[in-house]
């Protein structure tokens, strides 16, 4: 007998990724040879792999998760649904480092490899050397010395008309969530094992600012890369290199000074309006300006030219996710989940977001670089041209179909 296990209800191996939020899966008998009854009882368990991630199972959309699951599966080939979620605190580090087996009695009838792909703190050891290497490689390929798809991401965050779609108003957090997700999915198209790491800018993170990762600082404005770091070929706006220098008060072995810490940020308000407007300034703006004014990352028009920008904003998004978790702010119909003060186009809950909506001219920028939002084999959310309201329920808490297939290492599912 043989069974097929489909993760995220897909036969595509690139869909074999889960997060803390439960992924819909299914099992079906593909070869009933040896079966004597119309249904068989199949047990699904995880086989431990040293250093690998861990998952849990449950049969329905609700209920407790367990380490194994027994399902009654018809031999007719009809699929039986179930759910897999990563075990919080045990993310994967490598592609396919989780192995799931299906057994009838003691007989192995099917197996699949998958990965608990989670956005992690970019500092070592939680972010391994392998993860770091795969991340910078994918980023370098996406940039392709200024020739790659990365130019779209640079263009999206450049001119004032574009920046007004993304900054200074309620849409700041949803827009950047879509922006991060778009980039992450492009990176995953290059290397599916990559998840965007984040820079916890309220903690020391010396291992990020090294020649092997995002560039070492040796007193000059241009950061230094090791000989085999492909980011040494990083090129934006026609210029090779990354200009980044911490302000004198920022010792890279310590947390950057003057940046509101996580507790302070989460305590800013329980309502989205004041939370967003304050956190956009500090810690977000403050984190950008912990590098001096000659650095790319410290100016809104040039910041995405430095890859650090994406780690910084990944953390901004994590803080929002954590605030959402703390205050249960996933439901866009709950007033405190968003700021419903009438705002310019792109910032109101029902608005589509530029540039993914392709709308140009009028109240939107003159061009819309990059086309629609990148798709994922793991989910259809938030869609090709998401609306602001689509970006809130990233774990699919209110609506399971809204799950965006990303999670943070320290923000659990319910």
């Amino acid at each position: 007998m043989n069974v097929e296990l489909q993760i995220n209800n897909s036969a595509n191996p690139n869909a074999n990724f889960v997060t803390w939020a439960p992924s819909p899966c299914r099992i079906r008998v593909t070869d009933p040879t040896g079966a004597t009854t119309p249904t068989v009882s199949i047990q699904i368990t995880q086989v431990n792999v040293a250093g690998g991630g861990a998952v849990r199972f449950r049969q329905g959309t609700t209920g407790a998760f367990a380490n194994s699951l027994t399902l009654t599966v018809p031999i007719s080939g009809v699929s039986v649904p179930f759910f897999i979620a990563g075990r919080f605190g045990q993310p994967s580090s490598n592609l396919g480092d989780v192995r799931i087996q299906a057994r009838v009695g003691t007989t192995l009838v099917g197996s699949v490899r998958l990965m608990v792909r989670i956005r992690k703190n970019a500092v070592s050891p939680s972010f391994t050397a392998g993860e770091r290497s795969r991340f910078v490689s994918a980023l370098a390929v996406l940039n392709n010395q200024g020739l790659g798809r990365f130019t779209d991401f640079r263009e999206m965050h450049r001119v004032p008309a574009a920046l007004n779609q993304a900054h200074g108003r309620p849409g700041f957090l949803p827009w950047h969530r879509a922006y991060m997700l778009d980039l992450e999915r492009e990176l995953q198209a290059i290397d599916p094992s990559v998840a965007l790491p984040y820079w916890r800018f309220d903690q020391p993170a010396p291992s990020i600012f090294t020649p092997d990762f995002l560039g070492g600082f040796n007193g000059t404005l241009n950061v230094q890369f090791s000989a085999n770091n492909p980011l040494r070929f990083w090129r934006t706006d026609g210029v090779t290199g990354i200009l980044r220098r911490p302000i004198p008060a920022f010792n890279l072995n310590l947390a950057p000074p003057g940046v509101l810490n996580e507790v302070g940020t989460l305590g800013l308000s329980t309502s989205y309006g004041p939370f967003r407007s304050n956190m956009e300034s500090n810690p977000h703006g403050r984190a950008h300006t912990r590098f001096d004014t000659t650095s790319l990352v410290s100016d809104v028009t040039t910041a995405p030219r430095d890859p650090l920008f994406f780690l910084l904003h990944c953390n901004v998004d994590r803080l929002w996710a954590k605030w959402q978790r703390t205050n249960n702010r996933f439901d866009s119909t709950v007033p405190a989940s968003y700021d419903s003060t009438p705002s310019p186009a792109g910032h109101n809950l029902p608005d589509t977001m530029w540039p993914w909506n392709g709308i140009t001219g009028g109240t939107r920028p003159p061009t819309a670089p990059g086309g629609t939002l990148a798709t994922s084999p793991c989910t259809t959310a938030p869609g090709l041209s998401p609306r602001v309201r689509n970006m809130l329920d990233y774990q699919g808490i209110v609506n399971a179909a809204a799950r965006m297939a990303f999670d943070y290492d320290d923000v659990p599912f319910a």
Binding site: G146, S277, N282, R286, T289
Partner: protein
């Protein structure tokens, strides 16, 4: 003008992770602008400001005035720049003050304090301000008028490929005042298509320092990728080449090379195999990455 002033040190107040600010913008501003308070107190108040700036946008004008006031301590003015840069991320809110900010920065760009000059020119260069470009180029041509050391001026000029900096950068490459200036001049020329032969020459010159040859490899990869791929292969095959340069060339081949051609290149693969067995760490890692892709 080049005399380096005392670097603004991290204060206890700025090192300490901030809790949610409870002070109002008015309170923070009155401390920040008060000459009766200590520098440390004023800097700390400014550090709190961004959180409160939005309560009254007129506060931005007050902070801009603080930045432009030569009588204020440099530490306070530096913190003012950081606060204003933070505020500038809210493009629409900041827009009415942008003009005042830029005009003030042009004044500050000529301040006796080098750190303040750097800060001001950094912001101006990034918005491709004609004033800043003119001053920086003037300084490179006439060192007596230089507002910044040449390597910094070149770095800031690289923010605009349309700045008239190539000819002065070429002069610096020919007659460098320092190795740093030469390196930055070369980096700037990395976007000048005419400079491809220069980078090719440097890459192949074993008398050049490795860092400059590596920089040339990056520039050539962009200006003439085919040439770089050819030379990268030669460098990897050459047993007498620098280890770090070989690692850089392997990285170029692995990530940006012609996959079809490299997959067929048995000679190169054999050599990379050797390097993956017995080479210094960086080269070994580069070799392994190459083999993972092309084996």
């Amino acid at each position: 003008m080049n005399k380096k002033h005392k670097t603004v040190k991290a204060t206890k107040a700025t090192r300490k992770p901030q809790k949610a600010a409870k002070v109002s913008a008015g309170q923070a501003l009155s401390v920040a602008t008060s000459t009766k308070k200590t520098v440390m107190q004023r800097v700390a108040a400014l550090a709190d400001m961004p959180l409160a700036l939005r309560e009254n946008d007129e506060n931005l004008s007050a902070v801009i005035n603080l930045l432009g006031n030569k009588n204020e301590p440099a530490e306070v003015r530096m913190e003012a720049v950081q606060s204003l840069q933070t505020a500038s991320f809210s493009v629409a809110t900041f827009a009415p003050y942008r003009g005042e900010y830029l005009a003030t920065l042009r004044k500050v760009a000529q301040d006796p304090n080098q750190e303040l000059r750097e800060a001001a020119l950094g912001v101006l260069a990034r918005v491709q301000d004609g004033f800043a470009q003119k001053k920086l180029i003037e300084g490179l041509q006439t060192p007596d008028k230089a507002l910044l050391p040449p390597e910094q001026a070149l770095q800031l000029l690289s923010y605009d490929v349309h700045a008239d900096a190539y000819s002065v950068a070429r002069d610096i490459v020919d007659n460098p005042p320092s190795t740093e200036a030469r390196r930055e001049a070369l980096r700037l020329l990395g976007s000048d298509t005419k400079a491809a032969p220069l980078f090719e020459k440097i890459l192949l010159d074993k008398n050049e320092v490795t860092e400059i040859r590596q920089l040339s490899a990056s520039a050539l990869q962009s200006l003439n990728p085919q040439k770089l791929q050819t030379h990268a292969r030669e460098v990897v095959l050459d047993p007498n080449e620098e280890d770090d340069l070989q690692a850089t060339c392997l990285t170029a081949l692995t990530h940006f090379g012609d996959s079809a051609a490299l997959a067929q290149d048995a000679t190169l693969r054999k050599r990379v195999q050797e390097l993956s067995d017995k080479a210094p760490k960086q080269t070994k890692q580069g070799a392994k990455q190459y083999l993972e892709k092309y084996q």
